[in-house]
């Protein structure tokens, strides 16, 4: 059973992001990149399955981009068996549809039984990679997955709906899963292991040349959110703050009487 985890880079929001001069993207000159946090969850879930003996191998794959090498080495340090970088020649930002098409083409030469990816990513909150990848490969897909168990030829997954509702689904393999949360927090990658792998391990590459152009939304304008109403600060002693809060609740109609 071979698991593939598709990961991507997102801008590190530690530094303030700026809108680029053309108004269509963030300014990518000075920012650095980190692994998308949902992809970290997806990777953790795959590694746990391998450790439990439910899967044989974990391969991480990412479209090439700034900071991607570091992300792949970190994934190897956490315990992934192989890392593949998909060379594509496109400039960021890459819309999810195009990502899915590129990855689907690359996955033709990567053996896989089950594909994991983060449910969404902080760069666009689009949340469509798992469905689009499933569609491109003609595999079943499930989004917002919070637990995975493997049984012969099937993945039994827990999916989260609104209001705490959960469903357990059986999915035929191969399939694509959009992971919301792993069963345990993402593990630590020791720096010495990352550094050692940077010296010794090689990242495999897969080149994707032909690709039928995927229809994708174009970004016309990017702007900062405008603050419309400022927040109200309740200050004073503990009693005054409590009284202030209560009156906010009362005025909002969520609390009645003297409460």
């Amino acid at each position: 059973m071979n698991l593939v985890v598709v990961v991507r880079e997102v801008p590190d929001i530690q530094e303030e992001l700026e809108v680029a001069a053309d108004g269509k993207d963030i300014d990518r000159t000075f920012i650095s990149f980190v692994m998308n946090e949902f992809d970290e969850q997806a990777l953790e879930e795959a590694l746990v399955l391998k450790e439990e003996g439910q899967a044989d191998s974990v391969l991480v794959a990412a479209l090439d981009g700034e900071g991607v090498d570091d992300i792949l080495y970190t994934a190897l340090a956490k315990g992934a068996d192989e890392a593949v970088k998909v060379i594509h020649g496109l400039e960021p930002p890459i819309p999810t549809r195009v990502r899915a098409a590129l990855l689907a083409a690359a996955l033709k030469s990567i053996p896989h039984d089950l594909i994991f990816t983060g449910v969404q990513s902080a760069e666009d909150w689009d949340g469509q990679l798992a469905p689009l990848l499933g569609a491109a490969l003609d595999y079943p897909w499930v989004e917002v997955v919070t637990a995975v168990r493997l049984e012969d030829g099937l993945a039994v997954v827990e999916k989260e709906f609104k209001g705490g509702l959960r469903a357990e689904l059986e999915v035929r393999l191969p399939a694509v899963l959009g992971i919301q949360a792993a069963t345990k927090p993402p593990r630590y990658a020791p720096v010495s292991r990352i550094r050692q792998l940077m010296r010794t391990a090689t990242l495999k590459t897969v080149e994707v040349n032909e690709m039928s152009p995927a229809p994708a939304a174009k970004i016309r304008r990017l702007s900062r959110p405008v603050a419309s109403r400022s927040a109200e600060f309740i200050e004073g002693s503990l009693d005054e703050v409590v009284e202030g809060l209560l009156s906010v609740f009362r005025n909002a109609g969520v609390l009645r009487g003297e409460g």
Partner: protein
């Protein structure tokens, strides 16, 4: 090499006999135990062997359970942990590499001070933690976050490296930021992460540069190029991260011209006096800097400093010896000389002071394990210390380690002593006596 005890123990002899004949002398059972191998060899020694075969872990094997460490271990005083217990647990087969006990030692060194067998937890614990981390055992989440932040941003809080010198803007005196001015200076002031970013640490940093400025010291800071020193990271077991930081810092230092390094914190002091020279020698870097803790630096110019301390501070002050300045480097006097130089100030000592000073809980990675550790102690180490300061009637708890101000201030609040005790860095008290201010 782990010892194969099975070859050393003659199993058939591990029993109690009612009568034994030793060299022709008949001994009754009640006496003869000393002449037989003790039942202790029946224990599973695998874990102990694993620990003692780690570089740095050897001395755990020396423990003979005398219990001298029990009364001095700051964690044992508020909890149920100590070198004696660690040895005993290993003997009983507890997998200490996956046990909460792995993270409780603050490497305060008080056990080593009293241990007749020189069981050295300051080396054992980092070695065990390094093994656990590198073999993929789970790291407490708070510590993992601190490691990740330090690796990425050069500080445990995850603040922007570009804003590392922002505090300078409100210092009120000019500060040379070396990457900008590129001129040679006498003193490189290594600020450290907490004085750079923590609001109370920044108070101390501002006090420091005002005092240095008044003294006419020619100094500069590294600003955005400075990174966490990595000493506590090393003690917490992340050796690879320590090496990365040491390499970066050593390269940065080499780009600038200065005569000596003055550090804010005892952990940085330990890094630059002990760990960096060893690392540099092993990895072919140059390292030949004179390094001083700021209390040593200021105490060395006390003749110039004293006349500037004009405003009397009529406080009863007690001083908390930082483990990494006191026990680790035997410096007990410099901070006390500075405090005594402040007019009006009355010094009282706590019951546990100097060589037996109580640990604030921040060392050895404890700074980033507060909630984890509090699950295994009756009260936080910092809370214990604050109560000790109040017990001797102190109004001010004076410190000279940047980890401590925030730790103790939190502890003052959590023990319900707000208003009874204030926590001040010595440099803040000096600045107050020099320029005025409002400690109390």
């Amino acid at each position: 090499m782990p010892t194969d005890w099975s070859k050393k123990v003659e199993k058939e002899r591990v029993l109690e006999k009612e009568v034994a004949v030793v060299e022709g002398v008949e001994l009754r059972g009640m006496w003869n135990r000393m002449f037989e191998q003790r039942v202790i060899w029946d224990y599973e020694t695998g874990i102990l062997d694993q620990i003692t075969s780690l570089p740095g872990g050897e001395s755990l094997g020396y423990c003979y359970q005398c219990g001298k460490c029990v009364g001095v271990c700051p964690v044992d005083i508020v909890g149920n942990y100590g070198p004696r217990k660690i040895y005993r647990k290993a003997q009983l087969g507890t997998d200490l590499f996956s046990d909460p006990d792995l993270w409780l030692c603050t490497t305060c060194m008080n056990c080593l001070r009293v241990c007749p067998k020189e069981v050295n937890m300051v080396e054992i614990m980092p070695a065990m933690r390094a093994f656990a981390i590198n073999s993929g055992r789970p790291v407490p989440p708070e510590l993992q976050k601190a490691f990740e932040n330090i690796a990425r941003y050069g500080n445990p809080m995850g603040e922007s490296p570009r804003r590392r010198a922002d505090w300078v803007k409100t210092a009120g005196v000019p500060v040379t930021v070396l990457p900008q001015s590129r001129r040679p200076v006498d003193v490189l002031l290594y600020v450290g992460s907490y004085p750079s970013y923590h609001p109370r640490g920044q108070d101390a940093a501002r006090a420091m540069v005002r005092v240095l400025d008044r003294l006419g010291v020619d100094f500069g800071i590294l600003g955005p190029e400075e990174k966490e020193d990595g000493d506590s990271v090393r003690m917490a077991g992340e050796r690879g991260l320590f090496e990365m930081l040491a390499e970066d810092n050593i390269r940065t230092f080499a780009r600038y011209q200065f005569e000596r390094i003055v550090v804010f914190g005892p952990h940085e002091y330990n890094a630059f006096v002990r760990a960096y020279p060893r690392f540099a020698a092993e990895n072919g870097f140059d390292w030949s800097y004179q390094v001083l803790h700021y209390t040593q630096f200021l105490a060395s110019m006390l003749d110039r400093l004293q006349p500037l301390l004009v405003r009397p501070l009529e406080y009863t002050v007690t001083f908390h010896d930082p483990c990494y300045l006191g026990r680790h480097h035997n410096e007990y006097e410099a901070p006390r000389r500075l405090l005594r130089a402040i007019p009006g100030l009355k010094m009282v000592e706590m019951f546990r002071c100097r060589e037996n000073g109580y640990c604030c809980g921040g060392g050895g990675g404890g700074m980033w394990l507060d909630s984890f550790t509090s699950g295994y102690t009756r009260r936080r180490l910092s809370e214990q210390r604050v109560l000790e300061a109040i017990e001797v009637g102190a109004e001010v708890l004076a410190v000279c380690c940047p980890y401590e101000v925030s730790r103790f201030e939190d502890a003052v609040k959590s023990t319900g002593n707000d208003g009874r005790l204030v926590v001040r860095d010595i440099i803040e008290l000096i600045a107050e006596s020099m320029f005025g201010g409002d400690t109390k």
